[in-house]
C-alpha cells in the first residue's frame, strides 16, 4: 500500500507541473494584459511589463515561477489588490472556501446516504417517492438556480437564515450556501445509494446471511451498506469536483469572500498570478481528493486492497 501511495503521489506532482505549464501557455494566448488601461500611455505600460518580468519568454517565466513556488511564493497580485502577495490573499480566502466545501460535502454525503438508505428500506413506499422527487430536482436544477431561489425565499421572504455571508458568524451565515452547494451531491448520492442497496438487498449473499440467522441492523450495516459504499465512493469523486466548480457561482450569489469569487474576478482582470495560483489550488485539491478516495476504496474493498499490495 505504501508503495502504491508513493507511486500515485509522484504521478500527482508530475500532473500538477503539467497543469501549470498548460496554464502559462493558455494565458499567453489570452488577449490583453493585467495593465490594459487606456489612460496609461503605451511606454509606461511597457515599462511596467518589464518591471514585472512579463516581457520575458514564456518558458523562462515558467521556470522562474516553479522555482518560486517551491519556496512557497505564488507571486503578487497585479491588478485586483495591488502588490499584495498572493499567499496573503489566500491566507484569508482559502479557509472560507475550504470550510464551505467541507460543510457541503459532509451534508451532501450524510443526507444523500440517509435518503438513499431510507428509500431502499421502504422500497415502493412514500419515502421512496420522496427520495426520487428530491433526486430528480437536485440533479436537474443548476446550483445557481437553486441558490437564487433559496436566497430569495429562505433568506429574503421568510428570513430563516442570513441572505449574505458575514465573517462574524461564519457557520450560521453559510447555512444557505451550504445547502445550495450540497443539493446536487445529496441527489446523486441518494440515487446511487438506493439503486445499489436495492440490488444488494436481493443478492445471494444477503439471503445466505439471513439463512445463517443474521437480521436487522447487523445484516443491513455489516453486509449491505459496506458493499454499497464501493460504487458510491466512485461517484463521490466527480461530485466533489462539481461542488468545487459550483462554488464559483454560489460564492458570488451569497457574496462569500472565498477563492471561487476571487478566481472569477481574477479572470476578468487578467490577473495572471492569481489565476495560476487558484487553478493550481483547485487542481491540487482535485488530485488530493482522488488519491484519498482511492485509498478509501482499498480500505472498504478487499479485492482492490489485495491487488494493490501485490503491485
Amino acid at each position: 500500500m505504501a508503495k502504491y501511495i508513493a507511486k500515485r503521489s509522484a504521478l500527482a506532482v508530475a500532473t500538477l507541473i503539467a497543469i501549470i505549464l498548460l496554464l502559462f501557455l493558455l494565458l499567453e494566448l489570452m488577449p490583453g494584459s493585467p495593465f490594459n488601461i487606456d489612460k496609461v500611455p503605451f511606454d509606461t505600460r511597457a515599462m511596467i511589463m518589464e518591471h514585472y518580468g512579463l516581457d520575458r519568454p514564456v518558458m523562462e517565466r515558467f521556470a522562474k515561477y516553479l522555482a518560486n513556488m517551491l519556496k512557497g511564493d505564488f507571486g503578487i497580485s497585479y491588478s485586483l489588490s495591488k502588490k499584495t502577495p498572493i499567499t496573503a490573499l489566500l491566507a484569508i480566502r482559502l479557509p472560507v472556501s475550504i470550510r464551505l466545501g467541507v460543510q457541503a460535502v459532509l451534508l451532501g454525503t450524510i443526507f444523500g446516504l440517509a435518503l438513499g438508505m431510507a428509500a431502499a428500506i421502504w422500497h415502493g413506499k412514500a419515502m421512496d417517492t420522496i427520495a426520487t422527487v428530491v433526486s430528480v430536482l437536485g440533479v436537474s436544477l443548476p446550483s445557481y438556480v437553486f441558490a437564487l431561489t433559496l436566497s430569495y425565499f429562505a433568506g429574503f421572504r421568510f428570513q430563516l437564515a442570513p441572505m449574505l455571508y458575514q465573517a462574524s458568524s461564519p457557520i450560521y451565515s453559510s447555512v444557505l450556501p451550504t445547502i445550495s452547494l450540497s443539493m446536487f451531491t445529496i441527489a446523486t448520492v441518494a440515487r446511487f445509494t438506493r439503486t445499489e442497496l436495492l440490488e444488494i438487498l436481493g443478492s445471494d449473499y444477503m439471503l445466505f446471511a439471513e439463512s445463517k440467522g443474521i437480521s436487522g441492523a447487523a445484516l443491513f450495516f455489516r453486509h449491505a451498506l459496506r458493499n454499497a459504499l464501493i460504487p458510491i465512493i466512485t461517484v463521490l469523486a466527480p461530485l466533489i469536483v462539481a461542488l468545487m466548480t459550483g462554488s464559483l457561482v454560489v460564492e458570488r450569489i451569497f457574496s462569500i469572500p472565498g477563492i471561487g469569487s476571487l478566481l472569477v474576478s481574477a479572470i476578468q482582470a487578467n490577473d495572471y498570478n492569481v489565476i495560476i495560483a487558484l487553478s493550481f489550488i483547485y487542481s491540487a485539491m482535485y488530485i488530493f481528493i482522488m488519491l484519498v478516495l482511492d485509498i478509501l476504496y482499498g480500505i472498504i474493498d478487499p479485492r482492490i486492497r489485495i491487488t494493490k499490495e501485490g503491485e
Binding site: Y205, L207, F208, G213, D301
Partner: protein, 351 residues
C-alpha cells in the same frame, strides 16, 4: 415412518408481480423421516427452490405462503409450525441453528467484503454464547472438517481468493456451524466443475452421517439424486407429481413426466443418436391451471387430463403419483420402450 423431522402439508405460495399473482407452489405435500435424505427434482421454474425458501423463511418480500403447514420437529422437542413464525423469530430460533441452507452458486453466496473467517464466526456468534476466541477455534475446526488445507491461514482470506469448490466448502462450513438438524442443499454442485462435484457431495454426505443431519437436496441432476437420496419427489409446475423411495421412482416410475426426465438422462448402456428432450415448456403459473398442468406436453395424456387435475394415486405404501394413468379404468400404459429397456438393465446391474 412415524418419526418425521419435516412435514409439509398443502403448501401454497404465490408471488405478487406486475403481470398478476404467480402461483409458484400449488399445494405441496412432503414428508422427511429423521436422518434421511430427500431429493426434490424438476426443471427450472417447477417451484423446487421456492419450496426450499418457504421452509427457510426467506421468501422474497413479494412472496407469501397462502395456505398449508410446515411442521418441523427438532429432536426431543415439540413440533414447530414454521409458517406461523415471524421473520425475526425465524432468524433467531430456526435459521442457521435448526435448519441451514447451502446455496447454488458459491461465487455469489459469500459476502465479497468480509473475510471467510469473519463470515463463519458471525454465524456462530449469532446462535451460541461463546467468546470470540472460542468461535474462532470452532471456525478453524469447521474449515478442517470440510477439508480445507491450512485452515488458520485461510480464515483471513476473502471469497475472491478462493476457487469455486473451496467457496462451496466454506458455505457448507457456515451452514453446519451450529449443528443444524436439517440441511437444505439447493443445487449445491450445479455451478461447480464436474471433478469437484463428487468431492462436495462426499463432504456433505460424510458430515450428514457423522452429525446425523436430515437433508433435502434440490436438484435437476438425476445423477446427484441417484447418489445421495433415500426419497425422491418430482415437481412439476408447483406440484409434486410423483414421490417415493429413490428405488421406486428410479426403477418403477409411473408419471409420464418422470418417464420424460429419466429418458432425458444420458446413459452409457444404450447407443443413442440424439438425447431425448421433453417437448414444449412448462405452463405459465399466473392464474389457475385447469386440468393436469403437464397434459399439453404429455404424449400419453387422456381426455380427462384437460378438465380435471389428477389426484395422487398410491402405488405402494411409500410410492404415489399424480396421473390419471393410475386410475383403475385408465388404459394400461407403461413407460416408453427405450426407457423400459434401460430401466431393466439398471435394475439387473444394481440388483
Amino acid at each position: 415412518m412415524s418419526d418425521l423431522i419435516l412435514e409439509v402439508k398443502g403448501l401454497k405460495v404465490s408471488f405478487a408481480t406486475k403481470a398478476g399473482s404467480v402461483n409458484a407452489i400449488r399445494g405441496v405435500d412432503l414428508e422427511l423421516p429423521r436422518g434421511k435424505t430427500l431429493a426434490i427434482v424438476g426443471e427450472s421454474g417447477s417451484g423446487k427452490s421456492v419450496t426450499a425458501k418457504a421452509i427457510m423463511g426467506i421468501l422474497s418480500s413479494n412472496g407469501a405462503i397462502d395456505s398449508g403447514e410446515i411442521l418441523f420437529t427438532p429432536k426431543g422437542e415439540g413440533t414447530l409450525s414454521l409458517e406461523k413464525l415471524s421473520k425475526k423469530q425465524f432468524r433467531k430460533t430456526v435459521n442457521g441453528t435448526l435448519i441451514s441452507m447451502v446455496f447454488q452458486d458459491p461465487m455469489t453466496s459469500l459476502d465479497p467484503t468480509m473475510s471467510i473467517g469473519k463470515q463463519i464466526i458471525e454465524g456462530i456468534l449469532a446462535h451460541q454464547k461463546v467468546s470470540r476466541a472460542e468461535a474462532n477455534r470452532q471456525a478453524v475446526e469447521l474449515l478442517r472438517l470440510v477439508e480445507i488445507a491450512e485452515p488458520e491461514k485461510r480464515m483471513k482470506n476473502y471469497p475472491h481468493q478462493l476457487s469455486g469448490g473451496m467457496r462451496q466448502r466454506v458455505v457448507i462450513a457456515i451452514a453446519i456451524s451450529n449443528s443444524p438438524q436439517l440441511l437444505i442443499c439447493d443445487e449445491p454442485t450445479t455451478a461447480l466443475d464436474v471433478t469437484i462435484q463428487a468431492k462436495i457431495l462426499d463432504i456433505i454426505r460424510s458430515i450428514q452421517e457423522s452429525m446425523g443431519i436430515s437433508t433435502i437436496y434440490i436438484t435437476h441432476d438425476l445423477g446427484v439424486v441417484a447418489n445421495v437420496a433415500d426419497f425422491v419427489a418430482v415437481m412439476y409446475a408447483g406440484k409434486i407429481v410423483e414421490k417415493g423411495t429413490a428405488d421406486e421412482v428410479f426403477y418403477d416410475p409411473r408419471h409420464p413426466y418422470t418417464w420424460g426426465l429419466l429418458s432425458a438422462m444420458p446413459s452409457i448402456d444404450v447407443k443413442e443418436e440424439e438425447l431425448y428432450t421433453i417437448p414444449g415448456s412448462p405452463p405459465s403459473l399466473i392464474g389457475e391451471v385447469i386440468g393436469d398442468a403437464f397434459a399439453p406436453r404429455n404424449a400419453y395424456s387422456l381426455n380427462i387430463d384437460s378438465r380435471i387435475e389428477p389426484p395422487m394415486f398410491k402405488v405402494s405404501q411409500t410410492h404415489s403419483a399424480a396421473t390419471w394413468l393410475l386410475h383403475e379404468s385408465a388404459p394400461k400404459i407403461g413407460p416408453p420402450k427405450a426407457l423400459a429397456e434401460r430401466l431393466e438393465i439398471m435394475r439387473r446391474r444394481n440388483g
